[in-house]
Amino acid sequence: MIYKVKDGFVLRKIGPQIMAVPVGRLTSEIHGMVALNESGALLWDSLVRGSEKEELIQILLNEYETDKETVTSDIDIFLKNLEEQGVLEQ
């Protein structure tokens, strides 16, 4: 399954905080901004292009010294949140 965020986000870095701000017509669907932490921001580019979950897992495993089980669990939570907030394409 491909996970992809909707078109129409502008990524902003304000101080230490990275956030995706919906612009244009997307503002009718999503209000405000999507705040991302470091690992969320790492995944964002892949999600803009569209990625399999396995690819996302690999990105974080390459970046952090952690096990696959923890990464998978974190990504599941992250994707679920994005989906619930209408950020992901169906």
Partner: protein, 353 residues
């Protein structure tokens, strides 16, 4: 590795503001697009006629606003408020708005609401909806709008705007300034806001015109004496202010926000027309210059030894609006503090006996 993060604004604005203040960058900016307005409100301190405007400078062009916005984005600005005058009177409003929206700002629009119709909603659908719409509500009938704003169908128009904005799902707030001309409507304003299910806040604070506008603040605003009887000991205790460590100790804009006037003055807030910086060397330089000037601003000498200081709600912006100089006291503000001090003393004595 930390858990992957996701939130929708939760707790972020406060934390970002603290970070912006500590690192001195403008997290928020207000762009005062024009001093022109289709209303002529008795208490307005910004509104100029075209003739008055010409004698006080030139309005920044759409291209200039867009260029400034790009610089602000690079400096870390997230929140941009578009205001006026009435921002929708600018024929090129949408050129500015659409470009700012593309840059990823969270845009608030402050308007009197009278020019908001279906075509405005279509533009918002096309270019992006604002983060927040803030409309002024100055009366609960056309008659009151006539008296306060000189607009005979003002209420009808604003009511229509409220409904359109609500139907479009755009977050909306209403604010009102209460003066003699609309004071009888105050309860009705809250009733209307409840009926529309929109938050409403009113103020009775009207600052004298310090920026060339001609208003009748002195005649229209309420004097403090008219509220003194409503003061309870509890209210007074709650409104006591600790000694000021700096002139900006209570200011939520200082060090993290700027106000850009229609003619290109970078200043702290709408009231505070000095000190300011200009844009000749770009926004970053203007921001540094403004903050340097503000850092060197001093409280009036009289305030340092004033026995009424803990009841004085002064800020440099109010002083600037009232006395014309942020470092000079205003007799009106001093008198209010003095009256509060004695009202407090009297209530304490009454409680003891």
């Amino acid at each position: 590795m930390s858990a992957c993060g996701f939130s929708l604004d939760n707790g972020l604005p406060g934390a970002l503001k603290k970070f912006a203040f500590e690192n001195r960058f403008p997290l928020s900016a207000t762009f005062e697009l024009t001093p022109l307005c289709n209303f002529s409100c008795v208490m307005c301190y910004v509104h100029l006629t075209k003739e008055q405007m010409k004698s006080r400078g030139e309005m920044l062009t759409a291209e200039q606003w867009i260029d400034i916005a790009k610089q602000a984005k690079d400096m870390g600005t997230l929140y941009v408020t578009l205001t006026g005058g009435e921002p929708f009177v600018r024929p090129d409003f949408w050129d500015i708005y659409s470009e700012l929206n593309k840059m990823g700002f969270l845009i608030s629009v402050l308007s009197n609401g009278s020019l908001i119709d279906e075509s405005v909603m279509e533009k918002f659908n096309e270019y992006g909806k604002p983060y927040l719409m803030k409309l002024s509500l100055y009366g609960a009938s056309n008659e009151t709008y006539s008296k306060v704003c000189g607009c005979p169908d003002g209420f009808e128009r604003v009511e229509k705007a409220v409904k359109l904005i609500k139907n479009a799902g755009i977050p909306l707030m209403l604010t009102g300034t209460v003066v003699r001309e609309n004071s009888e409507d105050l309860n009705k304003l809250y009733e209307k806001a409840r009926e529309w299910n929109v938050p409403f806040q009113h103020t009775v604070t009207v600052v004298k015109s310090a920026r060339g506008a001609v208003n009748s603040a002195a005649e229209s605003r309420f004097t403090f004496d008219e509220f003194l009887d409503e003061m309870t000991l509890e209210k007074l205790e709650k409104n006591k202010f600790p000694p000021l460590k700096s002139p900006f100790a209570w200011c939520s804009s200082y060090g993290c926000s700027f106000w850009l006037t229609w003619n290109g003055h970078v200043q702290l807030c709408s009231f505070m027309n000095g000190p300011y910086a200009t844009l000749e060397n770009g926004l970053t330089d203007a921001w540094i210059e403004l903050n340097f000037k503000l850092d060197n601003l001093k409280s009036p000498q009289e305030c340092k030894e004033c026995r009424y200081a803990e009841f004085c709600q002064r800020c440099p912006g109010m002083l600037c609006g009232e006395s014309g100089d942020a470092e000079k006291i205003s007799e009106d503000i001093c008198n209010i503090a003095k009256k509060l001090y004695y009202a407090h003393k009297k209530l304490i004595q009454e409680e003891q006996t």
